[in-house]
Chain length 189, copies 2
């Protein structure tokens, strides 16, 4: 997606060799017009798939998932990271590891919101080691639902998440795949 | 907002006397069509105000803020609750207390994303004790920006947040104000 790649080159900031800050437009301050273009692009890329629900993880996936859901005309469910007094005891749970935060965490989805007849599109802002997508897949599997595809805004192509997930046969579509950020220079695949 | 009140009566679940679960349509599974109506209603209610940015707190505020921002044609900024390796060290910080989670937490916004000339609409899903809005106000004040208004989806009118904030002169607009939930019976103001 050319518009996104241009924006990453223009406003993205590389820290060290593996962290890309895009918080001026993607995951802290949010450019809603860009989100709309991202949503339209996901709809185009997954137009051949039957999608009944979009699943993401809090927090930065939520906005992208909500804007994208408008183009699919389906509900969003977001997996919760922390224990809430308001969450059902009747939940699907799995473990993920955050590359950005350097720690593992459990994610939870109420059993009421994923059904065996659901065909689910997973949406997330970043794909690095693939652990978040694997955790969401585990929840979808536990529910007996189908994982129709995975839409990623930015894939770190130099980490192995994308390869692992594609080797499992998952339909991963990333709007921008970064080949390298070494020396602060971003190159796309 | 009639559509929202009907939905709360139909799908909301009262736990004890003070917790309202609306996770089937508002803050776990999300009805995007309802979010669109909520966004349009906020635009109508704050149409007389100059708004340059929408500010919310992760996680459940983000989706509502993003959908609403489409009607105001402004960016969203969401305050982060946890320390991230990716967040600027140059941040505004304040403390809030979550009624739902029963604990206090700090919220952070990068100084780059709120400017003195910003006129900000705060959006959140719930208003109970008002601590989240007060924490966001503190950040807006520190940035020297203006708090133009506060749009709340559900206000717990039997807690004192709404009164405290209105007594401070803030322009609080809630789409549904709950007068009482005692005995599991929801009545609106």
């Amino acid at each position: 997606m050319q518009l996104l790649k241009q924006r990453i080159l223009q406003d993205g900031k590389v820290i060290g060799n593996d962290i890309l800050k895009v918080d001026s437009f993607l995951n802290h301050q949010i450019d809603i017009k860009l989100y709309n273009e991202i949503g339209k692009e996901f709809k185009k890329l997954f137009s051949d798939k039957k999608i009944t629900k979009i699943l993401t993880i809090e927090a930065s996936g939520i906005g992208i998932a909500c804007i994208t859901a408008q183009y699919f005309d389906v509900p969003v469910v977001f997996a919760k990271k922390s224990e809430s007094r308001n969450l059902d005891s009747d939940i699907y749970e799995s473990e993920a590891f955050s590359f950005t935060k350097g720690k593992s965490y459990s994610i939870r989805v109420s059993k009421r919101y994923i059904q065996p007849d659901d065909s689910i599109l997973v949406i997330d802002d970043f794909l690095a080691n693939g652990k978040a997508v694997l955790a969401l897949k585990e929840i979808i599997d536990k529910a007996g639902a189908a994982l129709a595809g995975v839409g990623i805004v930015i894939e770190k192509g130099f980490q192995d998440g994308g390869r692992i997930l594609r080797d499992m046969g998952l339909d991963i579509k990333s709007l921008a795949v970064i080949k390298s950020m070494s020396g602060g220079q971003i190159t796309f695949l």
